[in-house]
């Protein structure tokens, strides 16, 4: 059964370390995403698993087999490329049945598989079409069908939806997940789109600069980010800088700029330490006027954007920090620019991190 195991894998291109000592275990039949900004090494990691490039150090196992020296054609994988890489000189049918044919299946079996996968992606009526006659969405379906037809139990997807428009992208991502689950495949999906990864994955690995920062279910990453970068990249956060004024039991009192004090759950910080408090825009509550209570800060609405489902406010706090607050548009009160408001949050909804050595801007950089 194709679980995938990477042990201390490193890949360098000249002086650049694209994948830096990565260890990872992806379970059988799991839908696993590798998420990160451009240039973080996620595609390199996928190509290492596929055997399109070889690691400089470390071991890669597919099932129980060490595959470091196994060429891609013998790894029993399906690979969907970002640009689809449909063979331009073959029509849809020939593209889809290519895998079974080159693997030496008999003609009837190859044709049966071809019909099955085309049925699955609902493109049976276009089997004579050449790639340049198909729309982006259709090409993507053919690319998936082709990868599935090879009969592999491990499907590798390199930004498979990156070239499609938003509407098609949203539909296809659920379709791909459904197919892999129906066929009981292990899928590894590389993307830079966090909403895509959150929507379809069983688990996600977040990568930055060749390293894996955190692996977890979408809920774990969202609810319990273990680094400033993950808090920033998954869902987005407001970052408030301050010092630890005091610690008591499991709580810490953080003094923000302008002597504003708030409480947060203490995750091992000490008194006097410089910290960053991450609060998600949707965990704030917002009320008219100057309110009192735990973790309440007074401010003025500076900008308002109506986004349909939500309303997005930029609020200038009394200590001059600027925070973004998002509220559901249908069930919450609306505010106007210039209005005085009080924003507040629950201590357990804020995440406390030690101030990064490289600075906050560098820590949250996605380029």
């Amino acid at each position: 059964m194709p679980d995938v195991r990477l042990v201390n894998v490193t890949k360098r291109f000249g002086k650049i370390v694209a994948v830096d000592n990565v260890s990872l275990h992806i379970s059988d039949k799991e839908y696993f995403s590798i998420l990160g900004p451009s240039g973080c090494g996620k595609t390199t990691l996928l190509r290492l698993i596929a055997g399109l490039i070889q690691p400089d150090e470390g071991e890669i196992y597919i099932g129980d087999r060490l595959v470091n020296d196994v060429p891609p054609e013998d790894r029993d994988i399906g690979f969907v490329f970002q640009t689809f890489a449909l063979f331009p000189h073959m029509n849809a049918w020939e593209n889809v049945t290519y895998g079974p044919r080159v693997k030496g299946f008999d003609v009837r079996k190859a044709e049966r598989i071809g019909h099955e996968v085309l049925e699955m992606v609902k493109l049976h009526e276009r089997l004579d079409a050449f790639p340049n006659e198909l729309s982006g969405g259709m090409m993507q379906r053919i690319a998936v069908a082709r990868a599935l037809a090879a009969g592999a139990k491990l499907l590798l997807l390199d930004e498979p939806l990156g070239h499609l428009d938003a509407k098609v992208r949203n539909e296809l991502r659920y379709e791909i997940r459904r197919m892999t689950k129906d066929l009981e495949l292990t899928a590894i999906h590389v993307t830079h789109d966090q909403s895509e990864a959150m929507a379809i994955s069983d688990r996600i690995a977040v990568m930055k600069k060749g390293k894996i920062l955190q692996v977890g279910t979408p809920q774990e990453l969202y609810m319990n980010p273990q680094s400033i970068f993950v808090a920033h990249f998954i869902g987005g956060s407001n970052f408030l800088e301050g010092f630890i004024a005091e610690t008591k039991d499991k709580m810490a009192v953080v003094e923000l700029r302008g002597e504003v004090k708030v409480q947060a759950v203490n995750k091992g910080v000490n008194k006097g330490e410089r910290v960053v408090l991450a609060v998600r825009p949707e965990t704030f509550t917002i009320k008219k006027g100057r309110g009192k209570g735990e973790n309440s800060i007074f401010g003025v609405i500076e900008r308002v954007a109506f986004e349909g489902t939500n309303i997005r406010y930029e609020v200038r706090l009394e200590n001059q920090d600027l925070v973004v607050v998002v509220t559901p548009s249908l069930i919450c009160e609306w505010f106007n620019i210039g209005e005085n408001v009080t924003v507040s949050f629950q201590p357990e909804n804020a995440h406390l991190f030690v101030y990064p050595e490289v600075g906050l801007r560098e820590e949250t950089a996605v380029e």
């Binding site: 054609e73 399906g78 890489a85 895998g99 080159v102 030496g104 090879a150």
Partner: protein
């Protein structure tokens, strides 16, 4: 001032009248200088055919010669493509730094003047004292069809490798990776995916090799012996007419030249059309797959064997036989021949003058090709003068390289010399070389322009660039390498051309002088011949290398 001038030109270029004026001028010049002179001379003498059509024996001989031409051309072009693929693969996919040297060495047979190449190959394969035959005590391969085939294989090889290397460099490696992840071993991938996608380039390589084989005369004469193909037949008729007293009448000579040339041109055009039409429908056999066999043939020992065979073919059949004639040059370095040569003692005075003439001619022809050929390449690639007319031009561009060079020479002489007698010899030479080299340049450039997405041009226009600026800032930088390789082919082809030069003028270019030496018209020793060939090859090599470095030095594109 130059800036203002450039701005003025820029403004002018956006006027439709000026734009189409440039394109039309290029087309008119193509018809007037390139296409018509080589075939008009043949067509005007149409009547002369009457004198030979009744002569059954002569017609049978001509037809047999033409048939030989096509047999050799098909055989050689197929073999060239088959041998060129593994070599191009090795050059583009191998990792050794030495492959750059190998890549450059593959151009060498192109630099050697064709007639000298013929002599070199004759020495290598047939001379029982000097060449490889010396090991066997007698001539290994006597002049005849096999030696002609070897010669044609050799001179077409560089073009074929150059075209396939270009195709493999442009090719998106992702297709190959996709095929591998679907379970195809490397050989299956190459056969079903890579070769399928670069098929247009394989066809282009085949057509260039074929055309060259159909038309080459000078070198073929040297190795043909009693064997006759089309051009040799025409040359033999010319020789029979030129001796005193003539063995055939002028009418028979002209009639058979016209007859053989017309059949060669017509059948070649037909073959090209058929190849172009059917090649798009013809598919490489992708249905069948032999996984276990192809898997065995894909891995290291088989790859090593394939590379070794590719290198063996290149060195043993192409490179060493081509350079064989220049080998005595090394011996000549230690004798007093070198000081004599450098001092310009006779016959070296004539040699140096001819060398200067050859290189000046090569440079002028290259510049003219850029001026006349560039707009034409754009017309063909972008179909600027309507789809059907531009497509017709696309086919017509190839014609000058399929006319047998001896017939081309005769035709040009008739057109320029006998009809327009006032043209000085030097210009006659320039026009002759322009006609021969033009297709190489336009082919190379139009393919490159076609590869540039039209949206890049459109983007540039929407940002406010006038047509000339688009050309200067987008097309020219992106096609720099193709322009370079086109210019290299033009330059080397002009410097090495012999047959047509002999036909149109008595001016002596370097190849003509060397042919005189080789044929014993001037009394020189083998060492001097070797040194003469060696200088020509060395200087050409240095010029090409310098050009390559200059182009490489100017930024990324």
């Amino acid at each position: 001032m130059p800036k203002k001038f450039a701005e003025k030109l820029d403004k002018l270029s956006s006027k439709p009248l000026v734009k189409y004026g440039v394109y039309l001028t290029a087309v008119i010049l193509f018809f007037a200088l390139i296409l018509l002179p080589p075939i008009l001379g043949i067509i005007i003498k149409w009547d002369a055919m009457q004198d030979v059509l009744g002569n059954g024996e002569l017609i049978a001989r001509a037809l047999n010669a033409v048939k030989n031409s096509f047999t050799i051309a098909v055989l050689v072009s197929v073999l060239d493509v088959v041998a060129g693929i593994p070599m191009a693969w090795l050059v583009t996919r191998g990792k050794s730094r030495w492959l750059n040297v190998l890549d450059t060495l593959a151009d060498v047979p192109f630099i050697v003047p064709t007639a000298v190449l013929g002599y070199s190959i004759l020495l290598f394969w047939s001379d029982s004292e000097k060449g490889i035959s010396a090991f066997f005590g007698s001539s290994l391969i006597s002049p005849g069809w096999l030696l002609v085939a070897l010669l044609h294989f050799t001179f077409s090889y560089p073009v074929v490798v150059r075209v396939i290397v270009g195709a493999l460099l442009d090719y998106k490696i992702e297709y190959e990776q996709a095929s591998r992840t679907l379970g195809a071993p490397p050989l299956t991938t190459a056969r079903t995916v890579t070769l399928g996608i670069i098929k247009p380039s394989l066809i282009a390589a085949f057509i260039l090799a074929f055309a060259r084989s159909i038309s080459e005369t000078g070198a073929t004469m040297m190795v043909a012996g009693a064997f006759e193909n089309g051009p040799v037949f025409i040359q033999n008729m010319k020789n029979a007419f030129s001796v005193q007293p003539p063995l055939v009448s002028q009418a028979v000579y002209e009639g058979s030249t016209v007859f053989a040339s017309l059949i060669l041109i017509a059948v070649s055009c037909l073959i090209f059309a058929v190849v172009r039409i059917f090649a798009t429908r013809f598919k490489l056999p992708i249905k069948g797959a032999w996984p276990s066999l192809e898997r065995k043939l894909s891995y290291s020992s088989a790859t090593l064997t394939r590379n070794s065979v590719a290198l063996l073919v290149f060195f043993a059949i192409v490179l060493i036989p081509s350079l064989f004639v220049a080998l005595p040059a090394f011996e000549a370095l230690s004798t007093n021949i070198l000081p004599n040569a450098l001092a310009g003692v006779s016959p070296w005075d004539e040699y140096w003058q001819s060398l200067i003439l050859s290189y000046s001619l090569g440079a002028i022809v290259t510049v003219l090709n850029v001026l006349v050929g560039l707009p034409m390449a754009i017309v063909v690639a972008r179909k600027r003068l309507g789809t059907s007319f531009s497509s017709a031009l696309n086919v017509l561009v190839d014609i000058p390289i399929i006319v047998p060079s001896v017939a081309l020479g005769a035709s040009l002489r008739f057109f320029w010399k006998e009809t327009l007698a006032f043209i000085p010899d030097v210009w006659l030479l320039v026009f002759a070389h322009l006609a021969i080299t033009y297709p190489y340049f336009v082919r190379s450039m139009s393919a490159a322009v076609e590869r540039i997405g039209i949206e890049l041009e459109e983007a540039s226009r929407t940002l406010g660039a006038k047509p000339l600026t688009v050309f200067r800032t987008i097309i020219l930088p992106l096609t720099k390498y193709s322009m370079f390789s086109g210019a290299v082919m033009v330059f080397t082809r002009s410097v090495s051309e012999t047959g047509a030069t002999l036909a149109v003028t008595s001016l002596k270019t370097a190849p003509v002088v060397l042919v005189d030496w080789v044929k014993g018209k001037i009394d020189v020793s083998p060492l001097e011949i070797g040194l003469g060939c060696g200088f020509l090859i060395l200087f050409s090599f240095i010029i090409l290398l310098a050009l390559r470095l200059i182009i490489k030095g100017k930024g990324r594109y």
